[in-house]
Symmetry: C2
Subunit: 138 residues, 2 copies
Amino acid sequence: MQLTPQMRLTTQRQIILEELGKVTTHPTANEVYDMVRKRLPRIGLGTVYRNLELMAESGIILKLEVGGTQKRFDATIDPHYHIRCLSCGKVDDIDMPVMSDINKAAEDLSQYQVLGHHIEFSGLCSECNDMDEKQLVN
Amino acid sequence: MQLTPQMRLTTQRQIILEELGKVTTHPTANEVYDMVRKRLPRIGLGTVYRNLELMAESGIILKLEVGGTQKRFDATIDPHYHIRCLSCGKVDDIDMPVMSDINKAAEDLSQYQVLGHHIEFSGLCSECNDMDEKQLVN
DNA sequence: TTATGTGCAAAACATTTGCAGGAGT
DNA sequence: ACTCCTGCAAATGTTTTGCACATAA
């Protein structure tokens, strides 16, 4: 998919962006589709995929390549880290200062031109943790 | 898939493990399939998936949930970080000390019980970097 | 002998794409 | 008018699964 200067602001794009901006849950393409469909019932899933991809390429949104089977999208574009629940798959932000210096270290240790990094913590969210404890009691 | 105490050491499992141990390229399931098929031409792709998954669950190997469309597998199980080429998708190890202390920090900053973290650097490998430069010249 | 594992093929998902008609500029 | 965009459906790519047969213990 290409980025052309004459990218049109269609209703579909406006609403996808609005809906993504409303949540902090890092929804999958399908979840965005469900959110948007409440306002645009005839929108196609392909359109949602195409536009999320396009917006990610143009830097308006972030495509998260975290663990799990689906890609997730984030309207917050300033660099930050994430934590994923190993039980329910939920992804939350971690408000930890970004370690910009480790990119240089990685470059010294590799043959790569290092452009960035991402940290993904994993664990159990409070809900899943509570459930685990109850299960142990039962 | 369940982990049962009576897990059998079949020829297929032995060879999958041997072939994975031979490489440091973090192959995808399909790449493991290709490697193994040279020695066991009648093995099924399903068997490879099943056994890689099983071995990952039992902790014999590592399943890498890095960016890109396919999961990758690693016979090196001690914690380490990775770098992925944004151009060709190759994944290499980064020999950087693991920051075990940031897990505690993440736990303080979240509602999660933090169990681990992974860092994925991204950039351009030397081959892709060279190609880019040549393209600029041409 | 018997539970566990395999090969094969089909199914299940996630994502991408071709195309004819629709809409922004 | 002329692109660019959308909805739809089909295609693609990855992973999982059901089942009859095979095999390790």
